[in-house]
Amino acid sequence: MQVIVNISLKEGVLDPQGRAIGRSLTDLGFQEVGEVRVGKRISLDIDETDPARAEQRVARMCETLLANTVIEDYEIEIAGENEA
């Protein structure tokens, strides 16, 4: 089963990379761009068939390693279900 973890900076945490990208986009003529934030998207192949259990295990992985909960939030998507 494929599980996706989206990791984003908590609101209020400064994202200099996002800001720099935003500035570059505006410089390149994309005037419509407002705030830009950059996060991570980690995809994991999990040897597990039960989605609920997979989600629970991946949440543990996030808490122990994948996210730094001081500044980051995470969100788990069970991709295997919706996709081919």
Binding site: V13, L14, P16, Q17, A20, T64, L65, L66, N68, V70, I71
Partner: protein
């Protein structure tokens, strides 16, 4: 007691690259070669100081220091710290200590979004009774180089205030005639290094082990390290 009685261990992770530099510095200053401890070890012989050196442990993948902080040896380092043992983390080592929860806050990408290697001038702040600042007068200035991509210290306002109030800010970047901004990475409150509440755990971005003789550009790192070793022995 002489400095050579001091037992120092340097933890080596895959990707550490300042382990030898630190070993050489400590051996020169203390007269005894520190033990190098491989990250796969699960125990640490009794030591007076555990050092987490700079480098790119685990390639800095995921987040700097994150993978190293979950390495087998870190249990033992946590135990050592819990018993009041002294721990020093330099650069990547500082990042590891934050990821391991031994110090508060995080180190994020430099404000300039670029790696930066150059000298900085740092000032001893001190306040807490810490072996890492005890031998240095508050306001003492040192030229010590930095070399990092994620040295931008970040913590919530309350945490920052607490660090300030408790005297846990050990070193701050200050103005000097070095080309470029005093604060090389955008760190909150110009923080270059902090200590734990009990003063026994210290993390800093600049590399004192690279500044141990005038020929290398500065000997201020030797002053700082020697003061720490002396404070630990007494």
């Amino acid at each position: 007691m002489s400095l050579s009685a001091l037992r120092v261990a340097i933890i080596v992770f895959p990707g550490s690259n300042c382990d030898r530099d630190m070993m050489v510095a400590i051996e020169r200053l203390a007269g005894r070669r520190p033990a190098l401890v491989w990250h796969k070890e699960t125990s640490l012989d009794p030591v007076d100081l555990a050092i987490i050196p700079g480098g790119f442990s685990y390639g800095d993948y995921l987040r700097c220091g994150a993978l190293a902080a979950r390495s087998p040896i870190m249990e033992a380092v946590l135990d050592h710290a819990a018993r009041g043992g002294a721990v020093m983390g330099i650069c990547n080592g500082f990042q590891v200590l934050l990821e391991a929860g031994l110090l508060p806050g995080v180190l994020v990408e430099n404000a300039g979004l670029k790696y930066v290697c150059r000298n900085t001038c740092i000032e001893v702040v001190g306040g807490t009774d810490s072996p890492f600042t005890a031998g240095l007068a508050p306001g003492h200035r040192m030229i010590i180089p930095v070399a990092h991509n994620e040295g931008n210290y970040f913590a919530g306002d309350e945490d920052l205030q607490r660090l300030e109030d408790n005297g846990q800010i050990a070193f701050r970047y200050v103005d000097s005639d070095i080309v470029g901004p005093a604060n090389p990475n955008g760190a909150a409150r110009d923080i270059a290094g902090i200590v734990s509440a009990n003063g026994r755990v210290m993390g800093m971005m600049p590399h004192p082990e690279r500044a141990i003789s005038a020929e290398l550009g500065s000997a201020d790192g030797a002053t700082m390290l020697t003061a720490s070793l002396e404070a630990l022995i007494s």
